[in-house]
Amino acid sequence: MRIHPQTLRLIALGLALLATVLFFSTQIDSYLSPRMFTRITTSAAVILPVAVGQALVVMTRNIDLSIGSTVGVVAYLTGQFLGLHGDLNPVLVAGLAMGIGGAMGAVNGVLVAWGRVPSIIVTLGTLALFRSFLVQYSDAKTITTASLPQWLVDLPQANAFSIFGLDVRVTVVLAMCSAIAMGLALTRLRAARRFYAVGSNPDAAVMAGINSAKVVFVAFVLSGVLAGLAGFLFLAKFGNITVVAGLGFELKAVAAVVVGGVSIIGGSGSMIGVVIGTVLVDTIDNSLTRWELVSEFWRDALLGMLIMAAVTVDTVMSRQLGRIGLKTGPLKAGPL
């Protein structure tokens, strides 16, 4: 049986995660503990929705760099709103956060899809814009845990279920739900297959009668909505929200997506890959802070290296595949 290259990639990714965990378990005391499990999963839970949204955007051959600021703005606005209306239904609060995120994503989507401005430019602009808005709007005031309702403060400690003595938090379940829902949609929903089509060959998508602009717009809105969910989880996890909330999330999200095997030139990728990629990136991130041999200031450098390594491996792999004839060569179509 022929193993699909994507499957091969997922297996390699799983092995990389295993190797990382094993490596750090020899370096850090009491690493393989339930506490470390909870620590890494709850931290990854904040990144995962952002990575899921990012994956969608990258699949359409675009990128969303604004999400770090989106997370920050959503966390701040939602926290501020809760300070005034603390009795709001929790589901509505999450809905509000996702709505704010979606509106911010729509700004990106309109400019990229119909304004025809390259997504890297648009989202680089909104990355700065949203952050500046937050700085201006917050007037350097911090949202504190004291102003938040008790259910939200308790949420990060709430346990959904335990398995083998490991606690799985509600926030982790929420984040996983976003990935699973998106994964199911991408394989079962006909409309969702268009994300792949548009990224795989935009010209062909137009010729096939697909409204590419609409597809790209929806990808950005969903990225915003999921960043909104992450903003909500961020607010719950940290409670204290300053103007730097969510700073640098775009780097982690892009790293998780690329390491998770979503092709940076669009058209392919799976949610399983994104989940494993997120866990791997966050495991490394969390472990480095505890590793005495290396300064924690190397964390960003390592993330950057991880992105480059993943893309390099992909490029080399697809070139090798081209050589054995699984893909058409770069210079010309095959001899037949």
């Binding site: 079962r188 006909r190 010209d203 893909k327 058409t328 001899p335 037949l336």
Partner: protein
């Protein structure tokens, strides 16, 4: 794989030989050609871009289930016509009728709904998706949820209907060009297409694949689909078309049943004057000293054992079937895909060519077949393309490019090669295929090459421009340039070459002087005496 039909198809493709029409009797429409209920009709369509009129008063009527060929020189307006029929462009004036009712086609979705679809020379597939999904991606009748099992079954059935075999689970990126086209045709069929436009579908196919595609065209016709077939290969048109429409300068010139058409008459309509399509061989040039010598040149797994001498003023043609790896020899000589065995000698001294820069330093130029990918910067104006390979000689004080000299250089070639454009400031992407070819040639001529490699110099170029390009090549040889021409077009090879090297399956099958060369013995060498599949 042994295939009995292949040698015939190979012969047809190589020689331009027209087989007698035997298959389906040609349905005769009442003349003057105005079928009763046209499935698609264009009336007085006009379209201009800036000051240039691409179409003026174009009329066309397509009958249900006919194969309607459209021919015309490059720049005659064929591309614009297709884009209007498929909703990419909106006409400035005139009307489009589907089954007698006036319609507006504002997008490709509109065209699809009306049952009009098009396939192109470069297939429009989604490389990351599998065959079945490629077929059904935009099919609205499929429901909101994916039913993979049913989709694979339906895709298999559609592909089978076309009389070919393609695994519907495979990703489109691994398919050959011909298979990708099949996928596109299946997609059109799944959308219940009434009119299928095929734009130069065979330009990059091997003889065997061409035969299969023409088979598919007949299948479509039998299903009642009208096919608009656009091709420069006249032999194909005589093989499949029921009627032929000639367009010239954006206008309708003639529409005739195929039985009333002769190749000479068709070409005369296309260019507006009589052209001798059977190129006359000029006397062989006087050859000087050997410039280029190959000794058992090879590239691992691609080609091997290529040996020849090329003298100043000589034209050597590499002939062979598609897949004989002729282009790879050219790529090796230009350092793009370097040779791994054997020797290359220039003026008797061995050279190592590992990059285009190294080859250019040895005065080698390569005019590639793929203008878009390897030849031209489409978004840049003519002058910038012409000067691209020889910017060094345009540098003035402080290394700044002398724009006046650059323009003068381009202007010289515009006149010399008769590049049809208002000025050298026009973007190359806006020129017709033949004129793009001339711009690319100008770029390399300016490097004053001693060895000039042409890869399919007249592919996608119309008959009129073809003769011009041939004259230019002969003239260059006369000036002492050593010319290597890679061509699939046998009449072209016989018209241009002083000597012919025939390749088969990556190996040198033989080399002969033009005085001994005939169509038959070249084909025999190219296809092999054991008469196996064409590709």
């Amino acid at each position: 794989m042994i295939c009995r039909a292949a040698p015939l198809a190979a012969l047809r493709s190589l020689t331009g030989w027209i087989p007698p029409v035997t298959a389906v009797p040609v349905p005769l429409f009442p003349t003057p050609a105005e079928p009763v209920a046209a499935v698609l009709e264009l009336r007085n369509i006009a379209k201009s871009f800036a000051a240039t009129a691409a179409l003026k008063d174009m009329n066309l009527a397509i009958a249900p289930g006919e194969v309607h060929a459209i021919v015309g020189e490059n720049g005659a307006g064929k591309s614009t016509l297709i884009k209007i029929m498929t909703g990419v462009y909106q006409p400035d004036a005139g009307s489009i009728l589907v089954k007698g009712a006036s319609v507006s086609v504002r997008s490709t979705q509109d065209a699809q709904t009306l049952g009009i679809a098009a396939i192109y020379q470069e297939p429009m597939v989604f490389p990351d998706l599998d065959v079945a999904e490629n077929i059904f991606i935009s099919n609205r009748a499929q429901g909101a949820f994916m039913n993979w099992k049913q989709m694979y079954a339906a895709a298999t059935k559609l592909i089978e209907q076309l009389g070919v075999t393609v695994d519907v689970h495979r990703a489109a990126s691994g398919l050959t060009l011909a298979e990708q086209q099949t996928v596109e045709i299946a997609r059109a069929l799944s959308l219940d297409v009434k009119v299928l436009i095929m734009d130069e579908p065979t330009a990059s196919l091997s003889a065997h694949e061409v035969a299969r595609l023409l088979g598919i065209v007949r299948t479509l016709k039998a299903k009642g689909v009208a096919v608009i077939y656009i091709s420069h290969r006249l032999d194909e048109i005589f093989e499949v078309a029921d009627r032929v429409t000639v367009i010239r300068d954006g206008q309708h010139i003639s529409t005739r049943p195929i039985a009333e058409v002769t190749p000479d008459g068709m070409v005369k309509d296309m260019v507006g004057r009589a052209v001798d399509i059977h190129a006359v061989k000029t006397a062989a040039n006087l050859h000087g000293a050997s410039v280029l010598r190959l000794e058992n040149l090879g590239r691992e797994g691609v080609f091997r054992g290529i040996s020849f001498d090329l003298a100043m003023g000589e034209v050597l043609c590499l002939a062979g079937l598609v897949g004989a790896r002729r282009t790879d020899v050219g790529l090796a000589l230009f350092g793009i895909a370097p040779a791994t065995e054997g020797r290359i000698l220039i003026d008797g001294a061995e050279v190592i060519l590992r990059s285009p820069a190294a080859a250019m330093a040895k005065s080698i130029a390569y005019v590639s077949e793929d203008r878009r990918k390897m030849g031209l910067a489409m978004a840049l104006p003519i002058f910038a393309n012409v000067s691209l390979a020889s910017l060094g000689k345009l540098l003035g004080a402080f290394g700044i490019i002398n724009r006046t000299a650059e323009m003068a250089m381009a202007e010289k070639y515009r006149k010399q090669l008769a590049i049809k454009s208002v000025s050298v400031r026009v973007e190359v992407g806006k020129l017709s295929g033949g004129n793009q070819q001339k711009v690319m040639l100008a770029k390399w001529l300016e490097t004053k090459p001693r060895i000039l490699i042409f890869d399919e110099p007249t592919r996608g170029v119309d008959v009129g421009a073809k003769a011009e390009v041939h004259n230019i090549i002969r003239a260059l040889a006369k000036e002492g340039v050593a010319v290597l021409v890679i061509s699939s077009d046998l009449p072209e090879v016989l018209a241009l070459a002083d000597r012919i090297l025939v390749m088969r399956e990556g190996k040198q099958a033989g080399i002969m002087d033009i005085s001994q060369a005939t169509q038959e013995n070249v084909i025999r060498l190219a296809a092999g005496t054991d008469v196996r599949g064409a590709a």
